[in-house]
């Protein structure tokens, strides 16, 4: 008998939501078969079987959100098949190390603990109660109860992943130190149950929406960013007249190839070239050190109905406009259909958020840690500009760079923006 666990599909993933089971209880499963689709904080992913056999039990139902490492299904000989035994039951948490990316399966706890399974079916009452079976010492259970801790949120460090007193004490300590961080993965308030803090607002007139994994991640990471990264902001105005002319000429010339270069592609190119000269802006502040990345990987924020994703154009400084345009278009299309892979979302060293199409005069963005900076790009507008003391109409674009003051200082950022501006105002430089 083998457990299928919620795989860890990206570095930041803490839980995943089963969107669809592709195999049903009783189905024969071969190693490598896709068992289910999982929505993570970053993408929709497939969970593959690592063992062959019969899908005996589906533990996590569609729509259910499960922490990584937790059992979502059982593959066995077929002897233990439990048809229609829904809702089923979670067996263990974190029953071992979860490999960094690949879906994982553990042969362990299920085999050692037949009594647990026996107990489950006996206890099923069929009214939709999801009883959680978690390996925890009696003392840990009692402490969790006394402190109102959900054992599902606690990582067990005892033998076989058992939750012991140390783990509960760690959890309590962490919760005391940073209530936001520790409380974050708590289950979302059910509809109708008002959190105490906003009880003054009548909940009767409100709709309470359960967050998707992605929305939870955005909420967590951006809160973390604003609370831990000291942001400062430097703005500039860039005359886009020349670069827009160039873009028009390029697009006419490239139209037969089906290539269309966007304003954003030009900004990506300008930033990528400039970042080569400003390693701190392409760096991270980490544990009291500056980490200067050798690669320039630029994330581009893509708006989605359900939130926001930031797919990454890798080695952007080595890529010409043609390649950048093609990759950006493909990433945006994948983002909109939920097909981005973790690899396409990881590893960004700098981000660009462009609200130019939305007629925004200016805005500031929140840094996407561990990156040190993010460029907020507003709309390009026809503006009177004094040239030789005469008012001239030019295409002016406002940009604001949000920077992490632990690694970046005002003058560096100002010089960076000046260089980006120089490239965009002398756009032939973008071609070489």
């Amino acid at each position: 008998m083998a457990e299928v666990n919620m795989p860890r599909l990206s570095d930041t993933m803490q839980e995943g939501t089963i969107t669809r089971w592709l195999k049903q209880v009783g189905d024969e499963v071969k190693r490598g078969d896709v068992l289910a689709e999982v929505e993570t904080d970053k993408a929709n992913m497939e969970v593959e079987a690592y063992d062959s056999g019969i899908l005996e039990r589906v533990v996590a139902q569609e729509g259910e959100t499960v922490p990584i490492g937790q059992v979502i299904a059982i593959i066995g000989s077929g002897a233990g098949t439990l048809k229609g035994g829904q809702p089923e039951v979670l067996v263990t948490t974190q029953s071992g190390q979860t490999p960094p990316v690949a879906p994982s399966i553990h042969e362990s706890a299920a085999v050692e603990q037949p009594s647990v399974f026996a107990g489950i079916s006996a206890q099923q009452n069929g009214v939709g109660v999801n009883r959680m079976f978690i390996k925890a010492s009696p003392l840990a259970r009692r402490m969790a109860e006394e402190h109102g801790i959900d054992l599902l949120q606690v990582k067990g460090t005892g033998p076989g992943g058992r939750i012991v007193r140390d783990d509960i004490e760690d959890f309590i300590e962490q919760r005391t130190i940073s209530p936001a961080a520790a409380m974050q993965p708590q289950p979302v308030q059910p509809v109708g149950a008002a959190p105490a803090s906003i009880s003054e607002i009548s909940m009767a007139d409100a709709e309470v929406v359960t967050l998707t994994s992605m929305q939870k991640t955005i909420a967590r990471r951006l809160t973390e960013s604003k609370q831990t990264v000291p942001h400062f902001y430097v703005g500039n105005e860039i005359d886009m007249t020349e670069v827009l002319k160039l873009r028009q000429e390029l697009n006419v010339a490239l139209s037969e190839e089906g290539i269309k270069i966007s304003v954003n592609d030009l900004i990506v190119r300008a930033c990528a070239l400039t970042l080569e000269k400003f390693p701190e802006i392409n760096g991270s502040y980490k544990d009291g050190q500056f980490v200067l990345h050798k690669k320039v990987n630029i994330g581009i924020a893509v708006d989605l109905p359900s939130g926001l994703v930031v797919p990454v154009i890798r080695d952007a400084n080595t890529k010409g406009l043609r390649v950048i345009a093609r990759e950006a278009r493909s990433l945006v299309a994948k983002a909109q259909t939920g097909k981005l892979t973790p690899a396409e979302l990881d590893g960004g060293t700098f981000s660009i958020s462009n609200l130019g199409m939305m007629d925004v005069t200016e805005f500031v963005a929140v840094i996407n840690p561990p990156q040190a900076a993010i460029l907020a790009v507003a709309a390009t507008r026809k503006t009177f500009v004094p040239i030789d003391d005469q008012p001239v109409i030019r295409d002016i674009m406002h940009v604001t760079l949000s920077a992490d003051h632990r690694i970046l200082y005002g003058a560096t950022v100002a010089r960076f923006l000046k260089e980006v501006k120089h490239l965009l105002q002398n756009p032939f430089l973008l071609l070489v």
Partner: protein
């Protein structure tokens, strides 16, 4: 307080009890002229004469039966069985007479007798002379079984044993006879069924008795000195009746326990203690209780093999390290 050896304390206590109560008398093999195989009865024949210090034939069944009869008629015999291993011959007298008569005669006939006997291995006395059979006797209602680990406890427990109206098995350990310890002054007694916290600790509890309790105390004290772990040591002292309350309270504090015993693991004293703890301290347990006991073989004569078969400080320390919580308790 004076530091006295356990051997000397036993001798002193027997003498005092004989002086205190003329019904107290001693029986056993070689306890008179030879003054005992381990010299526990040294000088007593000379002082009290052959009516009160009786050398017996090599016939455990006979003289233990005689002691039961003497006790029924009002005397207080203290019988020495030369080593615990020889007690097998007298089991019928102990099990079916000594332990039953007080009950079966409707409480009219107490059997106030004590059987003193040394057990334990480690002296290269081989398989038939090194055993720890206490679980057999602690199993029997009607008997009381005590096993001190220090001279101070030996004195208090032996007084209680002799003055008690029930048959008592008083377990000594060959390797403890020379152990020295402080012995309080005065006519104190230690009630049966009271465990002793030898050393307080926070990280885990080691429960033991007799020689192993002394070893546990040493190991725990060293770990504390080296600032490694804070180990609580509880000496049960009395196997029957067992003081569950003290054990449970200790585990409530530490959440983790090891039973350290010299007998064999299966069906041993540790099994009873573990069962008691899981019944009464379940919600306080942070890990399964460990048993550190002797290897389940007849004890070999060869010194290296004997050492390998007997459990000791090393085995205990490794179990402590296995079981210790990740973070130390403050």
């Amino acid at each position: 307080m004076a530091e006295v050896s356990l051997r000397q304390v036993l001798n002193d206590t027997l003498r005092e009890e004989m002086l205190r109560d003329e019904n107290v008398f001693l029986m056993g093999e070689e306890i008179g002229n030879f003054e005992g195989s381990y010299k526990i009865t040294a000088g007593l024949l000379k002082e009290f004469g052959p009516k009160r210090v009786v050398d017996t034939p090599i016939a455990e069944n006979g003289f233990v039966g005689m002691a039961v009869g003497a006790a029924m008629l009002g005397l207080r015999p203290v019988v020495e069985i030369m080593t615990f291993n020889f007690i097998a011959l007298a089991i019928d007298e102990i099990l079916n007479h000594a332990a039953k008569i007080y009950y079966m005669f409707g409480g009219q006939t107490p059997v106030p007798m004590v059987i003193r006997t040394p057990g334990g291995g480690g002296q290269q006395l081989s398989a038939t002379h090194s055993q720890n059979l206490e679980a057999w006797f602690a199993h029997i209602p009607g008997l009381q079984v005590v096993a001190p680990s220090t001279p101070g406890d030996a004195r208090g427990l032996l007084r209680t044993a002799i003055r008690n109206n029930n048959p008592v098995l008083f377990l000594e350990h060959l390797a403890l006879y020379n152990a020295k310890g402080e012995v309080p002054e005065g006519d104190y007694t230690i009630p049966f069924g009271q465990a002793k916290v030898m050393k307080e600790g926070k990280d885990l509890t080691v429960i033991s008795y007799s020689r192993k309790a002394a070893i546990a105390y040493d190991v725990a004290s060293r770990l504390e000195r080296e600032n490694k772990l804070s180990v609580e040591v509880v000496d049960i002292r009395s196997l029957r009746p067992l003081d569950g309350e003290t054990l449970v309270n200790s585990v409530k504090k530490t959440g983790r326990a090891i039973v350290f015993e010299e007998d064999w693991r299966s069906y041993g004293v540790g099994a009873e203690i573990v069962a008691t703890l899981q019944e009464d301290a379940f919600d306080y347990l942070d890990a399964p209780i460990k048993r550190v006991a002797s290897v389940e073989v007849p004890l070999p004569y060869s010194k290296p093999l004997e050492l390998a078969a007997l459990t000791g400080a090393q085995e205990l320390e490794s179990a402590i390290n296995d079981l210790a919580p990740r973070r130390r308790r403050r």
